[in-house]
């Protein structure tokens, strides 16, 4: 290792008394190593600085030395000076990364349901926040104060910078409790056409009873309670927020059809990949030529580049795959068609159940003709109404 840092030479020695040359060298504490016989002379290695001290020994012993190779750090460094730009490359790369990691490249907002991301981004822009700005210039306190003052919907907000990401976390006010405080009286209205199946009043006056037919928009429970005097006449009206549970039976028509003949994609298995870099909305493509397929799908994968998970850089690597297919005219069999329609019906029922309705009857059948199949019929559901509308009780 020491030899490498000091630099050493591979030398070819020949002459009359080469062995004597070796002996005189070591007597002067000049180290020699890897001495081997070659042709009519010897190859050996010695420290670079010692080479200049053996001139008189060479003269004394009648030897000639020829440098074959220069090795070690001093010689390597001298050679690398010719490739200054190449060596500067990693240095500038690290410098660029260091500079980029001090700028804002991403904004994450969590907890916003009433306020859209666009509204909040416009607010940030008014505060002077933009992509590429130095992190230390982000006015965190002003953003926090501004959000709380300008937007009543926000109950609590936290603003922080993590890596190159500005993170805004917020908790919004509950819409319903806000409106309850503000409006004097609220009615409970129907959102569907149907028949009243069951009714439970907690507050307000019911305008319907079990068995009544109602239409969408009809008031079910009124948010005002008339207070009579001793004579039975209305003395005054007290307003309240109508509250209760009303089950409405509704029939939902089901109409789904499926044309048996259709075009299917038959994938050949051939695909071509294109990689490109997206920087600030611009695509820098690494093109691999024209796409040789007539028909193809283009699924795309995107991955933002970040360092250590927190420092987001302004580059996104995109991978597009061109998958060849051929359009084939084909037709579903009766069984296949029925299965598809049954799956669609299951999805409709699943979506209804997720809304909290109860399915009480299914009257759906599959009707077939020469070119298509269709679902015909209806589903009877029980839907709970317990959300007040925003309509004021007059």
């Amino acid at each position: 290792m020491v030899r490498f840092f000091d630099g050493y030479l591979s030398v070819f020695a020949e002459g009359k008394e080469v062995e004597r040359f070796f002996n005189l060298c070591i007597r002067r504490d000049i180290e020699l190593w890897d001495i081997a016989r070659q042709d009519k002379g010897y190859i050996l290695k010695m420290n670079a600085e010692d080479f200049f001290q053996v001139k008189d020994i060479c003269k004394k012993t009648g030897c000639r030395l020829k440098i074959l190779k220069r090795q070690g750090a001093p010689f390597w460094w001298k050679k690398q000076k010719q490739h200054r730009l190449f060596l500067a490359g990693p240095f500038f790369c690290i410098l660029l990364l260091w500079m980029l990691s001090g700028c804002l490249w991403s904004v994450e907002i969590e907890g916003n349901y009433q306020l859209s991301r666009d509204i909040l981004m416009d607010f940030l822009q008014e505060q002077g926040v933009h992509y590429g700005m130095p992190l230390q210039n982000i006015p965190i306190t002003e953003i926090k104060t501004g959000l709380r003052e300008d937007y009543e919907e926000i109950n609590w907000v936290s603003v922080s910078v993590e890596g190159t990401v500005l993170k805004i976390r917020m908790k919004e006010n509950d819409v319903w409790s806000q409106e309850r405080e503000e409006l004097p009286g609220l009615n409970l209205i129907s959102t569907v056409d149907g028949t009243i199946d069951d009714i439970l009043i907690r507050e307000g006056v019911a305008l319907v009873k079990k068995g009544d037919e109602v239409k969408k928009g009809d008031v079910l429970i009124e948010g005002k309670i008339p207070i009579p005097d001793e004579n039975g006449e209305i003395k005054r009206i007290e307003y309240c927020q109508a509250d209760g549970d009303i089950w409405i039976r509704t029939e939902i028509p089901i109409e789904e059809s499926l044309i048996l003949s259709h075009v299917e994609k038959e994938y050949s298995g051939e695909e071509k990949e294109k990689l490109f870099l997206e920087v600030g909305g611009h695509k820098l493509g690494l093109d691999i030529g024209k796409i040789p397929y007539e028909e193809y799908d283009i699924p795309e994968e995107r991955k933002a580049i970040s360092l250590l998970g927190e420092i987001q850089l302004p580059f996104t690597v995109c991978r597009r795959i061109y998958r060849e297919y051929t359009s084939v005219n084909t037709s579903y069999s009766r069984e296949e068609g029925e299965k598809i329609l049954e799956e669609r019906l299951s999805k409709i029922i699943e979506a209804l159940e997720k809304k909290g309705v109860q399915i009480i009857e299914k009257n759906v059948k599959i009707v077939a003709n020469s070119v298509s199949l269709s679902l015909d019929g209806s589903i009877t559901i029980l839907q709970l109404h317990n959300q007040q509308s925003a309509a004021e009780a007059e």
């Binding site: 062995e19 070796f22 002996n23 180290e31 190593w33 890897d34 081997a36 016989r37």
Partner: protein, 76 residues
């Protein structure tokens, strides 16, 4: 106290590791060096090392290391 023989007698010390490495201490210099034979001058005697592809890996005033295939070590 008994002094070591190499100091007392000026004897050369030869250390042979297997047949591929040989270390010599206490010598005056190299008399003859060929690929298959090296002749070294000790204090009172000459040492001949015979073998194949003999290379002097290290050569200083104190010690010499020879590598290669050693067949024979003899005194002359």
């Amino acid at each position: 106290m008994e002094l070591p023989k190499d100091i007392l007698l000026g004897a050369s010390i030869i250390t042979l590791v297997g047949k591929n490495e040989l270390l010599i201490e206490n010598y005056k210099g190299i008399l003859d060096y060929r690929e298959d034979s090296i002749l070294i001058q000790g204090k009172h005697e000459r040492i001949r090392i015979e073998g194949r592809k003999l290379v002097i890996s290290n050569y200083t005033r104190e010690e010499m290391k020879i590598s290669g295939t050693v067949h024979k070590v003899s005194y002359e």
